[in-house]
């Protein structure tokens, strides 16, 4: 059976997996880091060729 989160407060949204705040933050940080890399790669590629095309 699932167990309650140890530090949950009344009315506070709970995750079924009982995951802690520090882990949540680490997950979000890693996800944003990877997403930023993908966006940078995408925009950078287009921008690089756009700027290069200006060199003639």
């Amino acid at each position: 059976m699932t167990t309650a989160r140890p530090n949950s407060q009344p009315g506070q949204a709970q995750r079924a997996d009982g995951r802690g705040g520090a882990l949540d933050a680490r997950i979000k940080r890693s996800a944003w880091l990877l997403a930023s890399f993908a966006i940078l790669f995408y925009v950078g590629y287009v921008a690089y060729y756009f700027l290069r095309s200006g060199e003639g």
Binding site: A31, F37, V46, S53
Partner: protein, 532 residues
């Protein structure tokens, strides 16, 4: 191996309440954030797309049954080959493996769900819209894109109203893949059960971790390329227009920098499934686990530096030809390590030949055959002869059908009892296997001969000298298509009932996913298991 606790309500009952009525039922599936639900959605969607893309393949082979024009005019024929490829790659095989990842990665690492469940829901639901956009192009004025799945300019820029649909669909498919990749990486790196070090992870999870990184490197490049196509068409840029000072060959470099890793995005998860199935039915641990992990990583790395082997006929300096020829050939080394290790796992094993094992063994033989014809294509002087012939069509279909698709079939039969709680019909599974393996070879093997004899790809009509092998190939394709109806029947029958599956399902199976009951409960590993 572990201690586990489970919430035992069935997985047709999200949070213990069975939805009644159509709208709640639809909402339950549209809003679900459960990894098993989303895995199921991915798998069902890819099965649907298998028949959409397969239907187009049937039309293509019907047209090629005999010389002359039968059913499709040349433009429609080229639209069929283009949309068939895009649907099969982006709509069928990639979502199929994303479905396996959703279902199995959390179960294999002892995680309660994917790390970002709502993002997971979004990754899936982008797919039906993107695929619909792509399929809708068939009904637009000017028809669907017809320049091939490679979307080379300037040909693709001649597409009619379908062009922005194509670009938007590819962007959406790319976003879906990138989000799924981020989710998988973050899940594996953060939610592994205590004690599960990286080198204790199951091979399927390992291959998906590497695949996800590969997706993150390759997909933004494709997105960048198609964005540049869009601005060339609508915003006056000349990235790929020679008249404006651009270079159409630049797009080929961009596309294949994505396109070759894409082949490995498709095949690496299949490697992972085969690495699970062979040890189970050999009743032995996988031979050379660490070597398999390093070989997978090496293949992924090398796949990023071989792209121009698709472009030998474009013209490039000799040093470039040699570099891309040699790096392509070097991929055979880690791939050879994998084939050797699978064979060594079989060696002196206590083998049994259930349907997943049959598909895995056929994968071993036929994927290797596809690999060998790939080696032939890597040789620059030979490639100049083979380029754009049916030999290439035969090669990549051997890699993608008895390679990737057989991997997906093996995985489905292997984990179906875990998903449904019932054993599938073994007799029908074996019938599906034998018909599929026979017809795959009848379809694609003659295409080697057609290519070597000089038949070009992407043509609706051909010289009468190619008639016999085309006739055989088309008959094989019809048989291959029909055999997949058995697959659908087996899945439906298994989902509806059958002998109860135990938790372990297979006598030789090891790993966390086999410690949970069958069918896997809606919530698993709410408390992480301890790995010793």
């Amino acid at each position: 191996m572990s201690t586990t606790a489970f919430d035992t309500h069935g997985h047709d009952q999200a949070h213990g309440q069975k939805p009644t009525g159509l709208v709640p039922w639809i909402l339950r599936w549209v809003t679900t954030t459960n990894h098993k639900d989303i895995g199921t959605l991915y798998l069902l969607f890819s099965l649907l797309m298998l028949f959409v893309g397969g239907g187009m393949a049937m039309l293509i082979r019907a047209e090629l049954l005999q010389p002359g024009l039968q059913f499709l005019n040349p433009v429609r024929f080229n639209q069929m080959t283009t949309v068939h490829a895009l649907i099969m790659v982006f709509g069928m095989i990639m979502p199929a493996f994303a479905g396996f990842a959703n279902w199995m990665v959390p179960l294999q690492i002892g995680a309660p769900d994917m790390a970002l469940p709502r993002l997971n829901n979004w990754s899936f639901w982008l797919l039906p819209f993107a695929s619909t956009l792509l399929i809708l192009t068939l009904f637009l004025p000017g028809g669907a894109p017809a320049g091939g799945w490679t979307m080379y300019p300037p040909l693709v820029l001649q597409t009619g109203d379908a062009f922005p649909f194509l670009i938007f669909a590819v962007h959406l498919l790319g976003v879906s893949s990138i989000l799924a990749a981020i989710n998988i990486i973050v899940t594996i790196m953060n939610l592994r059960a205590p004690g599960m070090s990286l080198l204790k992870m199951p091979m399927f999870t390992w291959t998906w971790l590497i695949t996800a990184y590969l997706l993150l490197l390759a997909m933004p490049v494709l997105a960048g390329g198609v964005t540049m196509l869009l601005t060339d068409r609508f915003f006056g840029t000349s990235f790929f227009s020679a008249a404006g000072g651009g270079d159409p060959v630049l797009f080929q470099h961009i596309f294949w920098f994505f396109g070759h890793p894409e082949v490995y995005v498709i095949i690496l998860p299949a490697f992972g499934i085969i690495s699970e199935v062979i040890p189970t039915f050999s009743r032995k641990p996988l031979f050379g686990y660490a070597a398999m992990v390093y070989a997978t990583a090496s293949i992924a790395f090398l796949s990023l530096v071989v792209w121009a082997h698709h472009m030998f006929t474009v013209g490039m300096p000799l040093a470039g030809q040699l570099f891309f020829m040699l790096t392509t050939m070097i991929i055979a080394v880690p791939t050879g390590v994998k084939v050797f290790n699978w064979t060594a796992t079989l060696w002196k094993g206590s083998l049994s030949f259930e349907t997943p094992m049959l598909f895995a063994l056929a994968f071993l033989f036929l994927f290797t055959l596809g690999g060998f014809s790939g080696l032939m294509l890597a040789i620059v002087p030979a490639d100049i002869q083979y380029h754009d012939t049916y030999f290439v069509v035969a090669h990549f279909h051997y890699v993608l059908v008895p390679g990737a698709l057989f991997g997906a079939f093996a995985g489905t039969y292997y984990w179906l009892p875990k998903w449904t709680g019932h054993m599938y019909d073994e007799k029908l599974g074996k019938l599906h296997f034998w018909l599929t393996v026979i017809f795959v070879n009848v379809t694609f093997f003659p295409q080697h001969f057609l290519g070597l004899a000089g038949m070009p790809r992407r043509i609706p009509d051909y010289s009468p000298q190619f008639a016999d092998f085309n006739f055989i190939s088309s008959l094989g394709a019809f048989g291959l298509g029909a055999a997949q109806l058995i697959f659908v029947y087996v899945i439906i029958k298994c989902a509806r009932g059958g002998p109860k599956a135990t938790a372990q399902v297979w006598e030789g199976a090891h790993g966390l996913e086999w410690t949970v009951p069958s069918p896997a409960p809606h919530h698993t590993f709410a408390e992480p298991p301890e790995i010793k």
